[in-house]
Amino acid sequence: MKLKHETPMLDELESGPWPSFVSDIKQEAAKRAKNEKNVEYQIPTDVCDDLLGILELSFKHGRTHWKHGGIVGVFGYGGGVIGRYCDQPQNFPGVAHFHTMRVSQPGGKYYTTDFLKQLCDLWDLRGSGVTNMHGSTGDIILLGTTTRQLEEVFYELTHNMNQDLGGSGSNLRTPADCLGQSRCEYACYDTQHLCYTLTQEYQDELHRPAFPYKFKFKFDGCPNGCVASIARSDMSFIGTWKDDIRIDQEAVQAYIGGEIAPNGGAHAGRDWGPFDIQKEVINLCPTECMWMDGKDLKIDNKECVRCMHCIDAMPRALRIGQDTGLSILVGAKAPILDGAQMGTMLVPFIKAEEPYDEIKEVIESIWDWWMEEGKNRERLGELMKRQGFQRMLEMTNQKPDPRMVKEPRHNPYIFWKEEEVEGGFERDVNEFRKHHQR
């Protein structure tokens, strides 16, 4: 079937084994043109044709053809919709308006096909039929519709699908979690439950921008960090435990004897030789807290930093402890503006138990501080750097703990407060001069 625009450069992205988005959009364009199901398309039928056309032009020009956003949205929300207009509307009228809607994804990104089909039908009728599964923050991204359809889509989502939009702009962004306990033996808390509970609790913060800038929560069930919370969320909740790693000594022997492949079989693509527990597990332990005592594997749990390596390498022999909870790290962000920041340890251990009041206290005290002191477009991590981590401790009522730092400070330039110094700062210079001539 002939498409509206020639796309010689994009066509080159149809070869090769990896799924071709060009083939996919072409297929969608052809489907809309044919319209076998007689859909009463609510935005231009040739939207996918024009999307390919304008992308081809960008490939040719080496520059984007999308204008700076526009203020569009749904009534009463300040987020969830990103306005987008192309800068060549005469040539590509199908994408003249091409707004994005962010739809809040379910925990763990599990779906029933009933839900997805309903969403597809809605987006086929009222949008471009093009999506991102999923956006970087985690939302389902519905890519491209006209202004008039925004309220219509929102109405159908909320009324027919019991489904809300996600966040965008200076608000709480849609929180995201790893699949956690639903299918992972490493998860130290129920990431889905905590993520869902906080998402529901803070719906107002999510939809109505009242923050200095964006704010992200992400929930990792263990220190392996599959949702990368430590690198990209203002508050990162990472599962951990306090007691001992559980050991099944028989299974340890099975690994040593080669009956079970190490690391769940993750290295099967190459012959790395027989499994060597000394070399592959014990010697790689960052705190050297493991050893063999005859046939028994021993762990000095007090010295363990829960890096996960031994558990990852021998999942059938070693299991996380049972006194579980999470660590809260704060202030991670991507480079803009002052360089990338990794999360900083604020709460080494906190139980993750309903109704999560202690966790909410930490969150809300941070927001109080940031909303009061944060400058326009200042992320939490930047405020922490500007005002110091001590200020963060004061504002969140956390006690200083060596677990919060890699090492103590390199300089003695301590900002002593008057009340910390005996006798205070006010002194009589004349009294001083009685003993020290000018």
Binding site: T113, S136, R183
Partner: protein, 382 residues
């Protein structure tokens, strides 16, 4: 096309309005075997690339077939995913954080028919719709941003370079021969919606020319104080400019030598565009990770300061990524991530074995953190 109302009444927007209901509850979407065994999983195994089994205390098993996908996806393709999930998986499916799709079945005999079905589906032009892989010590799907397809600030495309890179790394998507997992990510500008700054290999779009100034429109389109404040290096100041017709307008001036090309001014002011065919391109960063396993999480480091945007297939970018991947495959020890390998052999050796030139651009000169990256010892390798 006739307008079809959803029921929304534009004259009374608050009528029957439903708001603040959040996402659907995850419990509604769990497959039965997941719901039953949540929190009671004992262990998992990768049976072959892309196929996992998780075993629960109850003895129940769930088999997962993981497939890659372009995260840019049409509703027709999602409908096809639904058709597969209805046929094999009781109507359930999930996505991973890295844009893979996971089909789950509750017994081993259902795995082969599912695999066969998935592998047999191709687009007309020949690429796989659902390639199986992305597990263990290999390459998994690339997380990425929008690029030229939908974004207003990109310095490169996203879906294009990702497709080209995954074609080149495809064998490692379907194999597990690397020392550890290799996470590749792409962000089409420094905003890094994709947060690529902690990836084993990061493909980052970057501008290299300061903004152009659309003086005639600048004061009409922008809040000048916000544009000035947006600059992290204080390169922008307010000024008055005389237009060719003699009219004086409020605008800004940019000290080009101070510009770090971050594009933050353009984010605040559409009259300061900086995209440019020759100026824009790709930075390759390497050696980052987010996992706490063995070593601490770390940032990616710049290995190649600039590569041109070579649409449609970015051959220099993909060949350098391939070269780095091969050097790592040859030199890394089992379980060693790319960054840990580079640190063990030393960065000077990393540039040797990857056959990459070390240029002055790679020495950090941005604020305090720069100092901590310079060598403060006599320990180096010849």
């Amino acid at each position: 096309m006739a307008f079809i109302s959803s029921g929304y009444n534009p004259d009374k927007p608050m009528e029957n309005r439903i708001t603040d209901i959040g996402p659907r509850n995850y419990e509604e979407f769990y497959p039965p075997v997941i719901k039953k065994n949540k929190g009671k999983w004992l262990y998992h195994e990768i049976l072959e690339p892309g196929v996992l089994v998780h075993v629960a205390e109850s003895g129940d098993e769930v088999y997962t077939v993981r497939v890659g996908g372009a995260r840019l996806m049409s509703v027709s393709l999602i409908q096809e995913i639904c058709e597969i999930a209805d046929k094999h998986c009781g109507g359930y499916v999930r996505w991973t954080t890295r844009n893979n799709i996971e089909f789950m079945v509750d017994s081993k005999d259902k795995v082969e028919p599912l695999k066969k079905d998935l592998s047999s589906r191709k687009f007309d032009a020949g690429s796989f719709k659902f390639p199986i892989g992305g597990t263990g010590a290999g390459v998994t799907n690339i997380v990425h941003t929008q690029g030229w397809l939908h974004c207003h600030t990109p310095a490169t495309d996203a879906s294009g370079p990702v497709k080209a890179t995954m074609d080149v790394l495809f064998d490692d998507f379907q194999n597990m021969r690397l020392p550890a997992q290799l996470r590749v990510s792409l962000a089409c500008c420094l905003n890094m919606c994709g947060a690529v700054h902690c990836s084993d290999i990061a493909i980052l779009g970057y501008h290299r020319k300061p903004p152009m100034l659309d003086h005639e429109y600048l004061d009409k389109m922008c809040e000048i104080p916000l544009a000035v404040a947006a600059c992290p290096t204080a390169a922008i100041r307010p000024t008055k400019v005389e237009l060719p017709d003699g009219k004086k307008v409020n605008s800004v001036a940019v000290k080009n030598e101070r510009c770090m090309f971050c594009g933050n001014c353009y984010t605040m002011c559409p009259a300061m565009p900086l995209a440019d065919k020759e100026g824009d391109g790709i930075v390759i960063m390497v050696g980052g990770k987010v996992s706490n396993r063995i070593s601490e999480p770390k940032f990616s480091k710049v290995a190649v300061a600039f590569l041109p945007n070579e649409a449609p297939r970015w051959p220099q970018t993909t060949s350098i990524i391939k070269k780095i991947t091969e050097a790592y495959a040859n030199g890394g020890r089992k379980y060693e991530r790319l960054g840990d390998w580079a640190e063990r052999i030393s960065w000077e050796r990393f540039f040797d074995v990857c056959e990459l030139e070390f240029t002055h651009h790679l020495i950090d000169d941005f604020r305090d953190p720069a100092y901590y990256t310079w060598r403060h010892s006599t320990q180096f390798k010849f």
